[in-house]
Amino acid sequence: MMQAAPEAISGNWTTLEPLSPANRGEADRLGRIRERTPNLGGLAGQQDLSKRFGAPMLIRENRGGSAIGLVSNGEMIGYPGVAVILIYVDPEARPGIAMEAFAMYVDHVFRQGARLAHFEVLAFNTPVLRMLAKIGVREQARLRDQVYAGGRFWDVAVFAFSAGQYRGIRARYARILPGGERPPAALGGRPQPPPGKVT
């Protein structure tokens, strides 16, 4: 049976586009930036990319139309139904905007049948760790010296939630999550400058 081509998913600030020949050049450009960035956003070695819950996608900012990141997933080896989610966002992108793309992709992965969404954050990625703490996602494990990045070993913090837990998070933090009334920077990006200060 032929499988329907995946569709784009649109949010307020970003759109997730399935990878295609039309955006291949942009995806390759992001891939090259990613190669120079120690924060890989996850551990490719623990997932089976032949089994996944939905296709990899490119993140496009609605304002201006730039391609700013990539999201993908693969089933965690040995754990049926557990989707390891990888997100990479260009560090030059507008602060906080990745959160919407991540939230939309997690929704998509659960709709595709994942039992749990699992993601891993390198210990130096303090903005993401702070954001997760802020929305009440608890660290489940701290893998000591699990990844070699940027010239040394780093711990990896592991997080996971079910679709039901995710709905609870969305309900509690709807005001600052995508579709809420706050701007993207409210989701953990750089602080806004004080009024009147030019930066």
Binding site: Q140, A141, F153
Partner: protein, 185 residues
């Protein structure tokens, strides 16, 4: 004066390590029967076992090994490396009696660190009443609890939490000083 290199140690007291070979096929079925669901399952059919062996031999640092205690086959160990740059390996270990396997598992860990420039070993154990001896076994040989993955495993169709255990090379060095200096590297 330079320190002397540690010698290889494929056997110590009543424990011994032997590279996995075609002749060890009968052990796989015995280990599967003795191992609680969720730990791991070895290929029991002869053809699948030989394919598994070939696959392991094609994988660097797999260190596929039969463990022996008092001259009898007692277990199976192998390593699985995701990305070599991380120098971290996942340990798969199955034993006929995990409650007695600490001496031979510590010998295997020593062999892993002695043979390869690994920085870290780690393993996962689903948390069920039947797997308690495995968690105790890894803790006995120096592994440290690094957390619990909630509901990740499916055992008998039910979601189960998974214990994550890790052992850095420096942890093992310290463990050897306390428990068995003969294993020190």
């Amino acid at each position: 004066m330079a320190a002397a290199a540690a010698p290889g140690l494929p056997e110590l007291d009543g424990s011994a390590l032997q590279p996995l070979g075609p002749e060890h096929h009968p052990l796989m079925g015995r280990l599967n029967s003795a191992t609680p669901e969720g730990i791991a399952e070895l290929p029991a059919a002869a053809e699948r076992y030989l394919e598994h062996l070939k696959d392991l031999r094609g994988r660097p640092w797999s260190l596929a090994t039969v463990c022996k205690q008092d001259g009898k086959e007692s277990g199976y160990c192998q390593l699985s490396v995701g990305q070599f740059k991380n120098l971290a390996a996942y340990v798969v270990g199955l034993f006929l009696d995990p409650g007695r396997a600490a001496p031979v598992l510590s010998l295997y860990i020593r062999q892993a660190f002695w043979s390869h420039p690994l920085h870290r070993l780690y393993t996962h154990v689903p948390i069920t009443p039947d797997t308690t001896p495995y968690r105790r076994l890894y803790e006995q040989v120096g592994f440290i609890s690094e957390g619990t993955l909630i509901g990740h495993a499916l055992v008998g169709g039910e979601e189960r939490d998974v214990a994550v255990l890790g052992l850095l090379r420096e942890d093992f060095d310290a463990w050897c000083q306390v428990h068995d200096p003969r294993l020190a590297l």
